[in-house]
Symmetry: C2
Subunit: 343 residues, 2 copies
DNA sequence: TTGTAGGCGTTATCAC
DNA sequence: GTGATAACGCCTACAA
């Protein structure tokens, strides 16, 4: 049987009242040094652990922020988790994470768990458009939340985002400046706003540069593990191939390069590739050769912004500004080559 | 201001008592269909969210298990997180994760958070020897917990582990069968039991095979990101090099291969490498060439065992058996070559 | 300096 | 079928 001592137990053992114990435990003034010592003595003897559920019930504060993921699988997200941790620690709050593995029902459960007193607010990670009900729920009761990497067209919510459109444009322009004219785009899961934005950025830049992409220059994927292989095979089957690829993210890009390599294509000689995310942590242990050129996300700053926003919301203020957007930064590797003009 | 409705609010709106509302919400019998409808109506109107803190206070059950990590950085751990999720869902419980980023104080805080009513039990992830205080605390109050990938010599605790000693032995034997005689071991952080075990397995197998490793055949690392580079350089400086490496884990192995490759060594022609963990998820997007031979961990089974154990503990029974050990499985890639005997 | 009493939102017991 | 009432462990006036 669980034998967790309560304040009452301490009070009995120390021969004082509950109030006195509470005061001592919370480091408040107005208790005799002698008494204080007795209380601490009793507390440690009983291995006292405060019942935060009960405490939260009366103070309605837990000092904890919940973070809701779709999945822990994506390395860029776990990277961001580390950054969030860092800032949270600096601000003196704690973070607990959960992953709903794409199950909307689970997501709702976790949100309710947090709303119901387990956390003071939540950070929601970029996810599907099916999130509207969740968001509406949160807004209805005015529970503090911040969204990372996801926009909701009709709703004005506190969010931290990356300029995916701009980043995509920048990637295309970079390839164009290297001399590429025929550029294809490998999409992510277009049910996610992130993927839509990067795709739109690609379209926009191509149009502005007068490079009309053909319909088969959009290679669609669902962003799942292994989708890069499929995309690569699709590409390999074509009779005329682009000279460069702008790929939704680094994971897919790596998978594709792997498969293209296997088919005998050299990178960047036969195909230039630019990704998105700049997964440095992982890059460090990948056997040589390819250091993927990629649009990097300023994760540190994003994490900081998210923590600051949620904390101001928790303390009852509207964050200023309500929404922050960060610019991706091009990180050059060795997977894009200068194309000599052959025309 | 937060406006979360309570049962009392619903009761007022529906014109019934708190008790009745509670019964309806918990799907209990003995309420008129009419009344039930009214209650649900009022609940949804007020966006009712149950206060799990208050509920936990009276039922002392949350339906949630806490999982405490040292860090989310290790891919093998996030992989395991996914597996835990899967089994937890099957069993109808939810999981929340936290990472203490090597900060012992943080770890204690999270444990207390969970013990104090936020979870029914915790799963502790393989970590440092400094964990004894935490474990003792948990045992003192009889709070349900399971340890994954960590042993405590003097304490008998419910744990799920991998036969690291046996796995290391198997790796060495494999290399020996391929003809290798001079094998070096790159260690992990020897403050972790896992690293000590794999090192001991290496020693044991070498001894049994009559291959006495020299003292500089142990290349020590602290397991942190980038340590593989350092290890590789240490290796490159030596005048006589081993023909094969047994590396603590895949991450370090990849880093080393990267650096060795850069220095002009070919793998497996000039150096055979075997790792530990078999990070398949990551392997899939690594540009060709090297598919690391590695000792794989049966994560699915481990996750299942951990969930089952914690649940039986939560329900008041001792898990049977108290401790489960799983055998690593050799996964052949293309980083180990057959050594022709030159003697 | 210390103690008493009330209430946070929920569930459970037991009358009505 | 329904509704008081008491607890769970904690904090915080306020009284002694």
């Amino acid at each position: 049987m669980l034998i967790i001592a309560s304040i009452l137990d301490i009070a009995k053992l120390a021969g004082v009242s509950k109030t006195t114990v509470s005061k001592v435990l919370n480091h408040q003034y107005g208790v005799h040094a002698e008494t204080r010592k007795k209380v601490w003595q009793a507390a440690s003897e009983l291995h006292y652990t405060p019942n935060i559920a009960a405490r939260a019930l009366v103070t309605s504060k837990t000092g904890v922020i919940g973070v809701v993921y779709d999945s822990f699988k994506s390395p860029i997200y776990t990277e961001l988790a580390g950054q969030l941790e860092t800032w949270a620690r600096k601000e003196g709050v704690h973070l607990v994470f959960c992953s709903c593995n794409q199950q909307q029902a689970s997501k709702l459960h976790y949100i309710q768990y947090f709303m119901g007193g387990a956390a003071d607010g939540v950070i929601l990670f970029g996810s599907a458009e099916d999130d509207y009900p969740v968001i509406e729920r949160l807004m209805a009761v005015n529970y503090p939340f911040v969204v990372i990497e996801n926009r909701y067209e009709q709703l004005q919510v506190p969010n931290v985002l990356v300029d995916n459109v701009g980043g995509a444009e920048q990637a295309v322009r970079y390839l164009q400046e290297l001399g590429h004219r025929h550029i294809a785009h490998v999409t992510g899961n277009l049910r996610h706003q992130v993927a839509v934005d990067r795709c739109n950025g690609f379209k926009k830049a191509m149009q502005e540069l007068g490079l009309e992409p053909a319909s088969d220059d959009f290679i669609r994927t669902d962003g799942s593990i292994g989708c890069g292989l499929v995309a690569a095979r699709t590409l390999l089957e074509r009779e005329t191939r682009p000279t460069a690829l702008f790929v939704f993210n680094d994971l897919i890009a790596y998978e594709m390069m792997d498969e293209l390599h296997r088919a005998g294509l050299r990178i960047p000689e036969d195909m230039s590739v630019i990704g998105f995310d700049h997964l440095v942590g992982l890059l460090s242990f990948k056997p040589g050769i390819h250091h993927l050129t990629s649009m990097g996300q300023p994760l540190r700053e994003m994490a900081r912004a998210a923590i600051e926003m949620i904390l101001s919301l928790v303390s009852g203020q509207m964050p200023e500004p309500m929404s922050q957007q960060f610019k991706p930064v091009l990180q050059e590797g060795n997977t894009c080559r200068i194309l000599e003009s052959k025309s």
